[in-house]
Amino acid sequence: MEKEEIYERLNNVFRDIFDDETIVVTAETTSKDIEDWDSLEHINLVVAVEQEFGIKFNMNEVTTMKNVGEMVDIIISRISK
């Protein structure tokens, strides 16, 4: 899967979770850039991404992911396995 396709699918997940059709994520996007992305919504987002790509994040990744770029790296490493 190309990176662009992953970002495109992530955009849909983010728009759906945060109820905002204008969201466009990049590798540098962090929770600071999206108003509703707080610790309460974080797990909802993580689970939605897991379902979208049919993968599982471990707890270390859930707690240490710093931006969307790192999330994409993990997705790539999982789906290429």
Binding site: D19, D38, S39, H42, I43, N44, V46, V47, M59, N60
Partner: protein, 509 residues
Amino acid sequence: MGLVTFTFMVFCIITLFIYFIVPKKIQWVVLLVSSVTFLFWDNFNIGTVIQALMVLIPAYIFGRLIDKYYDTKKAKRFLAFGILIILAQLIYLKYTNLFLATFNHIFNLFGIKYQFGLVYRNSLIGISYYSLIMISYMTDIYRGTCKAQKNIFKCALFMSYFPILTSGPFIRYDSVGKEMYKEHKFNYRDMCYGLLRILWGVFKILVISQRLGMLVDNIYTNIGIYNFVLTFLAVLAFPLQLYTNFSGSIDVIMGISEIIGIKLPENFKLPFFSTTITEFWRNWHITLGAWLRDYIFYPLQKSNVMQKLNKKCKNIFGKKVGKKIPMYVSMVIMWILIGFWHGGAYTYIIGSGLLQFLFIFLEDILSPVSKKINDKLGINTEVFSYKLYQVIRTYLLFSFAMIFFRATRVSNAIEIIKSMFTFNLGILNRKVILNALGMDLYDFAILIVSLLTLFIVQLLARKGSIREKLFKQNIIFRWGIIYSLIFSIVIFGCYGVGYNATAFIYGQF
């Protein structure tokens, strides 16, 4: 050994002196010896030694086993064992009375005459901190965040690092723990920065918090004597007393650690400028919140049970509302745990737990409503006056919850609330007011000036590090400020009768 005592000052000077003159390879041993000395300073006997070993040994052994069997079912079992042992001990030592008292209440309700006698458990200083820190240590190994420490003495240093034992902050092995074994060169800049932070912490504790304590203690222990204005004053003063005491202690701790060369995570970010209770808790006791988030809230939210509940709720209530319900369930559990962390008495479970949850819950569900109202009425929410209103509202809500936190029992808190809303002016002359404040006009003036100083410093701190700004100033101004701080601590610090430097409000948790 209290943080703001002469003994502790001498203890730190000796530790730092030896730390920087010994060969760098054994610096960590100096820290270990100091930490163990500090841990057992007031409470050394066979029982407390066993207590400490009962946390260290399981954490060390299971940590290594989890590492060895990483990513297998065995690792999960070892983690569960390790957590269970540490948690069982913590509950036994800290919460036995809470359970006994609860049983007594239940017996009373059903007319059973039997009552359990309460017990005294002699627990070590910092037991809650080091127990939770070692639980996170094992969990981090399980998650692959870090590797297990092979040297049990190094593991013991991480568990007992002396600066954090009294009031935190919570540290993680991956970030702070590893720093403890590194070699540190003496750094003049770090020493100046550290000392300044220690001074500022001592100022907060001795000049502000102790003085506010006189007023708060006096009015809280004489409920009903003073009219509603004075009761309100005590209720509003307590959060400030707690903050200056707790964040002052953290300043002292961070300062000492900074001189050693170990940077600790910040525990406060100007909480009283928060515009909502949700934001407030992101800026207050940050490391406790982060601990609960990473080790309780996230795993709970991601668990199969919660995910199933999530699905069910979405089917019944729709996507938007449905996803909130499991979130609130996890939050209630977390806030009750915060109440337990603070001692487990009902006053804490209500004041620092359930009420805080209630406010956050209300903020969450009412925010669309208030947005609509603001839009309809054309209220501009991006202006200073609106932000000020939000900051004051947050302070008032927090103060209200803290009535329960400060009161000795729930009925006591209710009496205070009644007294706040019994609009009887009574006699309100100078003598009564000064009597209520528990201080004379001179002390009251010092309190006002020191609170103003705190406020100005915090305003400046919003725009970047104050210490950096100060050290850029010319020598006369720089030393003028430092000397003023030292002299105000010496002259205006409360060392009077009834002052107990070891009685840190937060030390008891």
